[in-house]
């Protein structure tokens, strides 16, 4: 398998940057998208990579917070993140307004592999797992690979950015747990319902979402004999391979752990074991 986009070495283009927020968009009272004016990241990052943000200028919270690069405009030199307010860090981050400058480390991590032998791609998102998939969709479209999105959420209100996928020409199917949009159920059930679509095409599977969902996807894809890449989240202290805190269990007997920030965040499901 020859990668079209080589997984960039972590660190190669790593910089500590002061990035200005130039646009802020609320999708729900909890979900927000920030756009930063930063050509370095816009130009040199690849889908799947992330940035690590110092969300306040004091020690509360102490550590940076990692966010996937959600979308880039290479030409105009901006990139975006999409996130949900869940705790102290995201709360503080969401308070910054247009004009503020944030201390950002990036781009970090490896990236989704886009392979020439795949003529299509299936993108599977659970909740905020949608974040890195828009950037991925941008690149797939550039590479003339047709993509389809399966997107699960708790309810209709939380569905966001599908308009941007539409504009890229990426078809989408929704699932919501409360049935308020698309299939009633989880995204894994949506994937099961569309099994034929998944199995038939010569597609790469890309997924991002909570670990239990990704473990389920892994099992499903293994049964269907599909190659699948997932983007993982863990707690991180550094984001660039020095603290050794961001471990996940690997499937290799000789090397029981993988580090999400430098070996990932993107892994083939064959490499990792997400069971509790």
């Amino acid at each position: 398998m020859e990668p079209l986009l080589a997984s960039s070495l972590p660190q190669k283009d790593l910089k500590l940057l002061q990035c200005k927020i130039i646009h802020k968009e609320w999708f729900t009272p909890k979900i927000v998208r920030l756009r930063f004016d930063e050509p370095h990241i816009a130009k040199l990052s690849n889908p799947g990579q992330f940035i690590n943000i110092k969300v306040t200028d004091n020690y509360v919270p102490l550590l940076r917070r990692p966010f996937s690069i959600h979308r880039v405009d290479r030409e105009n030199g901006w990139f975006e993140i999409l996130f949900k307010v869940i705790g102290m860090g995201t709360q503080a981050l969401a308070q910054h307004e247009v004009g503020a400058r944030l201390d950002i480390l990036g781009p970090l991590g490896n990236s989704f592999k886009i392979l020439s032998q795949n003529d299509s791609a299936i993108l599977i998102a659970g909740g905020l797992g949608i974040a890195p998939l828009l950037f991925l969709a941008q690149e797939l479209v550039q590479s003339k690979i047709s993509a389809t999105l399966f997107y699960g959420n708790r309810s209709k209100d939380e569905v966001c950015t599908v308009k941007d996928f539409d504009e890229l020409g990426v078809a989408h199917f929704l699932a919501t747990e409360d049935g308020s949009a698309g299939l009633k159920g989880r995204v894994t059930e949506l994937v099961a319902a569309k099994k034929n679509m998944v199995v038939q095409s010569n597609s790469m599977i890309y997924a991002c979402g909570p670990n239990p969902m990704l473990q389920r996807i892994k099992e499903m894809m293994e049964k269907m004999n599909k190659v699948c890449q997932v983007s993982l989240e863990t707690l991180m202290a550094c984001g660039f391979g020095v603290c050794l805190g961001c471990v996940v269990n690997s499937t290799s007997a000789s090397n029981p752990y993988k580090y999400v920030c430098k070996d990932g965040p993107v892994f083939y499901t064959s490499e990792i074991d997400l069971r509790e």
Binding site: Q11, K12, L14, K15, L16, K54, Y59, V60, P61, L62, L63, R64, D103, L105, T234, L235, M236, A237, C238, G239, F240, G241, V242, C243, L244, G245, C246, V247, V248, N249, N255, P256, Y257
Partner: protein, 304 residues
Amino acid sequence: MNRLAVTIGNLELKNPILTASGTFGYGEEFAALIDLNRLGGLVTKAVSSEPRAGNPLPRIAETTCGMLNSIGLANVGVKNFIADKLPFLKKLDTRVIVNIAGKTIDEFASVISEIEAAGGVAGYELNVSCPNVKEGGMSFGASAQITALVTAKARLITKACLIVKLSPNVTSIGEIARAAEAAGADALSVMNTVVGMAVDIATKRPKLATITGGLSGPAIKPIAIAKVFEVTRSAKIPIIGIGGIMSCDDVLEFLITGATAVQVGTANFLNPQISEQLVTDLENYCQQNNIQDINQIIGSIQVK
């Protein structure tokens, strides 16, 4: 004349700013972000005889103004260290100190011998104090006797600067400091992390797989300053102050209290350029305050 130069045992450092073990990888991870050669020195991640995978996950947790870790001395092992990491480190124009971890007293000695054979390092820091690896109960560093034994055995093997890293998790750090000094240590690193723990109230599980771990970051600085002070009263060899350093003011606080040099740990995660920045800040401080020699500051604390 370089006004920031300090001496630790037989080691001249161009300035008192080092980076702490486990927070700076093997140096190369920072090469894209700072000029490593501006540092007084760097201390590698722990090196043990065999590669170690480290502790199960989760391994880190955030606390108020601090973090817990139980990395468990995950490292590439001495052979890979020599083959893959040392060549890069040898090219640097800064002092490279290798942090040594062992499950047995002999493991410390054997790791040092292997590195001595390869050459090119300025010193060793014996990590007898890691709270995350407890073979046979207490960590070695809780016993003055075992600390002395580990130190004495290492001393036989190397003439390089031998530093013993002390644990704060003891009733009397002064006693352990004296034991290390008597056994031939050239300097003491004060301190390693403080034993701490956090519990996720939703899952009722400890936030670390190992239940307890090591607390680091600004929360522990007052503890570290107290330990440095206590050690100045117990031992005569130089002290490298460690614990919660985030700013030049923090560096000065350690130096004034009696540390000859400092190591920056957790701060590297928040700001990967902090170590080089601190060298600049310290230079500026000396310039602005007309301090010709940083040694004037060291131990300058006024106690009546």
